[in-house]
């Protein structure tokens, strides 16, 4: 009962602190939005379009083909200089400059070169050129057919082009079709389904570490010492604080899950598996937070080291980018931190429709992390409270 009173007092104190609420809910949601928007469209090349100053129907058709190509994410620029600047700043993979006089050149039967600007040392640009080439080739096929038919029959180029478009629609060309072999993704889905679970992992941990500062503060202001002078055992204090921070981690997780589902349309997968994962991760965060509260001497130390440690571990564990992208040795190091196992479990649930059985190994490792952290936290905090008269 005494432990629950400690829990009640700690939870009430946190809910009265508006700054804590900012870090608990508003900041994670803001970061989810920023990262969610940023990591969408990674399966398309980013291409800048600079339309010709003097344009005609042929040039317009080419621009429309490029704009509608599914593999390209295009943005139109008024000037080549602006597009070059965006390319230089790595905001684009390539820039297509539609040449002036394209219509006239094609009607005259001349070959036209469509320049595509790329960053020479980066290979994404050269791959983007191939995608642009496919669209240009499809467009050029109709122009070739029109020129050929005009030459064979003496019709005007425009008449033949209209005929080529009609024939193209009715024709049965050799097609290229895709066939997905491996539908089991090693990555979280893009967009908010990427940012929401990863930020849940990151912020529940960081917030729990920040909670450690409150424990240090309570120690330093002598609250624990006064409590220990009353008939309250150190064990009750430790248990009460641990339950409080576990509840806070669970509340934060559930808020992020709810906001993700309602505002960002995130499908969290199997509810039972997701619920167990949220609970086990909250235990890991609680263990880390209470341990920080026991080990650090001043709240400033926690404020300084907590965010840096949280962000660093989050990066190592794949919260900021998929571990599949980093070198092998760094991936191996990543699995030394619990974040990697949590992100892997979320990937199984969100990308592979996994259930509780599919994430049992990840849950086992996370439970082991939680057990070690909670044991250490309990031992060190009790020692700190009993040996140091509550400070």
């Amino acid at each position: 009962m005494t432990a629950l009173a400690v829990t009640r007092a700690t939870v009430a104190r946190v809910f009265r602190d508006r700054t804590a609420l900012f870090f608990m809910v508003l900041l994670p949601v803001a970061i989810i939005v920023v990262i969610g928007v940023t990591v969408s469209g990674f399966d398309q090349f980013r291409v800048g379009l600079v339309p010709a100053a003097r344009t005609g129907p042929v040039a317009r058709e080419l621009v429309s083909g490029l704009t509608g190509a599914p593999g390209l994410r295009t943005r139109t620029y008024d000037s080549a200089a602006d597009a070059r600047t965006a390319l230089r700043r790595a905001e684009l993979d390539a820039v297509v400059v539609v040449p002036d006089g394209l219509d006239a050149a094609v009607r005259d039967g001349r070959q036209v070169t469509v320049p595509v600007l790329v960053e020479p040392s980066g290979s994404a640009g050269h791959a983007a050129v191939s995608s642009v080439s496919a669209v240009v080739a499809g467009h050029a096929a109709r122009l070739q057919a029109a020129a050929f038919a005009a030459g064979e029959t003496g019709r005007s180029f425009d008449d033949a082009l209209a005929l080529a478009r009609d024939t193209d629609r009715a024709a049965s060309p050799i097609t290229v079709r895709g066939e997905t072999v491996n539908g089991r993704s090693d990555y979280l889905p893009l967009g908010y389904s990427y940012s929401t679970p990863t930020m849940l992992v990151l912020f529940v941990f960081i917030n729990a570490l920040a909670g450690g500062a409150a424990i240090v503060q309570t120690r330093r202001t002598g609250v624990y010492a006064r409590a220990l002078a009353a008939p309250v055992s150190a064990r009750s204090l430790v248990l009460g604080e641990t339950i409080a921070y576990l509840l806070l981690a669970l509340v934060q997780s559930l808020l992020i899950v709810a906001i993700g589902a309602l505002a960002f349309d995130v499908d969290w997968g199997d509810p039972l598996a997701a619920g167990v994962l949220v609970a086990v991760w909250a235990l890991v965060g609680t263990g880390a937070g209470v341990l920080a509260g026991a080990l650090f001497r001043t709240p400033e130390q926690v404020h300084a080291i907590g965010p840096a440690l949280g962000i660093g571990l989050g990066m190592l564990g794949g919260c900021m980018w998929p571990l599949a992208l980093v070198p092998d040795w760094l991936r191996t190091v990543g699995y030394a931190v619990p974040h990697a196992w949590a992100v892997e479990a979320w990937t199984t649930l969100l990308s592979r429709n996994g259930d509780l059985a599919a994430i049992l190994r990840d849950l086992g490792v996370l439970a082991a992390f939680a057990a070690v952290l909670l044991t250490l936290a309990s031992v060190f905090l009790r020692r700190r409270l009993t040996a140091g008269s509550g400070t």
């Binding site: 900012f22 900041l27 803001a30 970061i31 920023v34 928007v37 940023t38 399966d43 980013r46 593999g71 230089r88 700043r89 790595a90 905001e91 390539a94 070959q111 070169t113 600007l117 790329v118 020479p120 980066g122 290979s123 791959a127 050129v129 191939s130 995608s131 496919a134 240009v136 080739a137 050029a140 096929a141 070739q144 057919a145 029109a146 038919a149 005009a150 064979e152 029959t153 005929l163 024939t167 024709a171 060309p173 050799i174 097609t175 079709r177 895709g178 997905t180 072999v181 491996n182 993704s185 090693d186 400033e300 130390q301 404020h303 300084a304 840096a308 962000i311 660093g312 990066m315 980018w321």
Partner: protein, 388 residues
Amino acid sequence: MRVVLAIAAKDLRQRLRDRSAWVIVFLAPVLISGLMAMAFNNNSEFRAELGIVDLDHGAAATGLTQVFESPELSGTVRVHPYGDKAAARRAVDAGRAHAAIVVPEGFTAALSGGTASPVTVLDSVDFGLQAQLARAVTESYVAQVNADRLSVATAVAAGVPREDVPELVARAALSRLPEQVRARGLADDPLKVISYFGPSMGMFFVLFCVGFGARGYFVERQQGTLDRISAAPVGRGALLLGKSLSTFVYSLAGLGTVTLVSWLAFGARWADPVGVAALSAAMAVSVVCLTALVIALARTERQAEGLASIVVFALVLLGGNFVFASGTSLMRRLTLFTPNGWALRGFTDLGTGVRGWTAVGAPLLGIAVFSAAVAAVTALLLRLRRTA
């Protein structure tokens, strides 16, 4: 002036004795930007491991393989031949190949008319961009074949008798697509990840100085230090200047350390060291202005701490400190409402070989406008508080 320096030196000594501040301003940004540099060290290049299954064994299929092995794609694509579709599927399934192209039997024969099975691109959900490349190159190649077939069909539709088709096919085979794409490289330096994230993380953590400075002010007020200084023959201006100077020096030292380590240890490159120094100094000035604003807004140490944290995270989120050169155009526009967003634009331009005023002129002006606006609001708040 001596008083100003004495106050600044006292503040700096206090700050340097605080090991937490060392961690957050010097150690954390260096470690995190180093981690980012290592994570993306060999990942800046796009690579595609593509399998090819030639069931046609004709000249057209060989031509397609040669396109994938051409010098233009040699830096991007590595071709792996497979004997049958099942072997290619296994390779894609296991991740040994990112995608595979299966050229069907009869592909070459289809050049001279008739029907042909589709060319199949086997892909994996995790390598969408590589599959897109495989598909695009194949489509470009097939487009020439289809163009010849379309030329004949259009000529027939335009009135050429059907019995002339064999001659038409021969003449169409000599045609070339009238539009060709040609890649041209920019002369600028490529932007390295560390050239962006080094200063980006430096700014993120240096912005925490706003919290240190503001909290320090309230602690000193609580301890009576400010009253004791006021009792001495020290003007308010000298006190303000001294404290601002210490925050400026500390912020500049933090940013300087991160840029120096990023340059020496992780290979960051910026075209103009003077530009780097100017951007860092401007950023340190805005940290000073933001600290003054938080002090003017807050009434207690706790309020100052919370307000500073909110300001820091709002600025880094809007300023794009966590986002490498991507995001939407709206996000890029929003960065221009923050000093760190402007500074990052300057560092990006310096990182791509642009020098001098062209690279840092607009960013310095943007940061100056932001700092002046913050200073004006702060002055207004202080005046309002005095009159109240």
